[in-house]
Symmetry: C2
Subunit: 395 residues, 2 copies
């Protein structure tokens, strides 16, 4: 009677969600302070005070019918212009309002982009580990997701595997750096190598391959290192951005798509994005949030807390004996499972009230993801449990 | 290289948008006060003061990481509970939070619902005149839009035509009362008759037919008459609601889907809606707006201004000699074209700087739509132009 595909998607809640729900139950049983819940990627740092001030000032000083009125479908002209100017200043690439389409956050940026560019039979490549919804978004748009595993030792790009995966059907490649779920940043030299490879494949097949940069974690970086900006290295670049993490506004759903002016037939791609947003029911991005972020383009939530958490957790876990892929950004950490089956490891961790996510749902076996966007005190309290879990495996 | 369907959708801006853009140009030439722009359905009345107060109080009193954090995908539990309670109290039908899915406005309510319920080969019926995006939404979801024209004299349902249009492939019927573009309200007796017809067709074909009520204009009614609430009359009812017009918040994108508990396999339909929202990239509805509207469920923007505009315009136009379908709600009015071709009539009106929308894009010939969500003074100033236009046809 209804769409069996959508029913399945709706019924099969994600593994992360299941763990989170278990955590809620367990907290009710033994007290919230005794459950070490590292399951969700929900920013624990508040939005910068400036965001709140700007929001209040807008509410006080703008007529309500303007502030809460429709903007044009791609977004308010002044907001898009401000973002384009900011991109030019920050990254030194060309950009104008004609390249910026405001969205309801990163997921919307991705679904609108994918529906705009793919046609039946197309393939979209993602590198594992990857955000599990990529599969849902790519398949809903009518394409096939092709998964390429990163190297197990450092979760960096495996160029031999990538080269083998690109076919004449490859329409796009998604890159996500800093990465969810691993926190790993792809170094500039690897970005250059990837772009070079894609350029040669474009020539070989006589067609364009889009490189989609899904980068909601761009501002959450601890190394001081600059995260390579794809449009600096590759013409057919589309940036899917969100303010969810940078400004700690995940519930407000605000982000944008930047179709680089260097994209082949950039105007047509932008028009297709407008068509796709329209067909999916996105009338415009939330207006108050559009006007708010436009005044906070150089602000970031207090990332130092995530960095402190990372250092604390990384040092403690490695000292205990765990093998940890050191994350350079975001607020996730990938830790090697202490047995081959990460699901079994997750179950055993649960006995110590440690809630961590087995890596299989991210497309790779043998790891768990720890989301450390939590109170630092929770990490401190959890360390004995991590120690006991480790010792349990030495028996 | 990209999706030709989306490119076409993005390039072909709507007729309304074209007229609006022409209006902007013309205003720059001769002054905004001399252009009588009735093209857009953008609420001219501000949000109630209470909405602003609630919003500011939430910002002042809620920790930012909570207020702007993710809600669960179908929406905040307290918000959904409040809406369900409000539906029960207002309409006397059963409802719980398990039936409420918060959305980014009416367009999202429709696209998420349609993608959840239709499968290839399904037909969805809409009554003309209808909101032109229905076609885009239905076709994107993979179904075929079947258009049934209303009776020309009063734009009310034509039951003979409806009966002929229902087939074993009919998955859903969309009703929109008060109507965009006509402002007409379907009387309760006709709703009963429609539901009766659908019930008998369900029996005849041994399958369910959804009745989707798209009702963003529910609160904009001038007659004192209650707009029939579909779940009171029909089991397989899905209500697509938005606060855009009721609370004058169109840019903020906030609304909901109500899957009546009487719907066959209601839980599965709700799950499919969750899956559909997920696949289309809707992570959650904007959080600040969820919490805001939950405290304003019995508030409405000042509708009396729209009523005043309607009366002024209706009386003046009929006195001049125009044939007008008297609108009972919303902020639209359908006026008979003074020549057969509404597009030619629209072009002639343009010479008098009257910007009105020919009805063809709404699926019926021979009318124009006037959006009277404008300053009352604009209507007053426009009346001589309407008179001159009428006289121009008497020459």
């Amino acid at each position: 009677m209804i769409s069996s595909k959508m029913l399945e998607l709706g019924k099969k809640s994600s593994v992360i969600r299941e763990i989170f729900e278990y955590g809620l139950k367990r907290k009710a049983e033994i007290g919230a302070e005794n459950v070490y819940d590292f399951s969700l990627g929900n920013p624990s740092v508040p939005a910068p005070a400036k965001v709140t001030e700007v929001m209040k000032k807008l509410i006080d000083e703008t007529p309500a019918e303007v502030l809460h009125g429709y903007t044009s479908a791609p977004g308010d002209v002044k907001v898009r212009t401000a973002i384009a100017e900011n991109i030019k200043a920050k990254f030194g690439v060309d950009a104008s309002l004609a390249n910026i389409y405001m969205t309801c956050g990163a997921a919307a940026s991705l679904t609108i982009t994918l529906n705009a560019i793919v046609e039946e039979g197309d393939e979209v490549i993602a590198f594992a580990p990857f955000f599990p919804e990529y599969r849902v978004f790519v398949e809903q748009a009518g394409a096939k997701l092709v998964v390429v595993s990163n190297k197990t030792e450092d979760l960096q790009l495996d160029f031999d595997a990538i080269e083998k995966a690109i076919t004449p059907n490859t329409k796009a490649v998604i890159i996500n750096s800093p990465n969810n779920p691993s926190g790993v940043i792809v170094p500039e030299e690897d970005i250059k190598k990837l772009c070079q490879l894609l350029k040669s494949k474009q020539s070989e097949y006589g067609k364009e391959i889009f490189l989609i940069s899904d980068e909601p974690y761009r501002e959450l970086v601890f190394t001081g290192e600059k995260v390579a900006y794809i449009p600096c290295y590759y013409d057919n670049a589309i940036v899917c951005y969100s303010y969810s993490k940078a400004l700690s506004l995940p519930g407000e759903r605000i982000g944008y798509i930047f179709v680089a002016p260097t994209v082949k037939d950039s105007g047509d791609v932008f028009a297709a994005i407008c068509g796709s947003g329209r067909a999916l029911g996105y009338v415009c991005a939330p207006s108050l949030m559009q006007y708010t972020i436009a005044q906070c383009l150089n602000d970031t939530a207090d990332v130092s807390i995530y960095e402190k958490n990372r250092n604390l957790l990384y040092d403690a876990l490695t000292e205990i004996g765990y093998t940890v892929i050191k994350p350079d950004g975001a607020f996730y950490m990938f830790v090697k499972s202490l047995e081959e089956d990460a699901n079994a490891f997750y179950e055993r961790a649960k006995k110590f009230d440690l809630l961590i996510v087995p890596s299989d749902s991210f497309g790779v076996p043998g790891f768990v993801r720890i989301s450390y966007c939590v109170d630092t005190s929770l990490i401190e309290r959890s360390l004995p449990a991590f120690k006991s879990l480790y010792e349990d495996y030495q028996k």
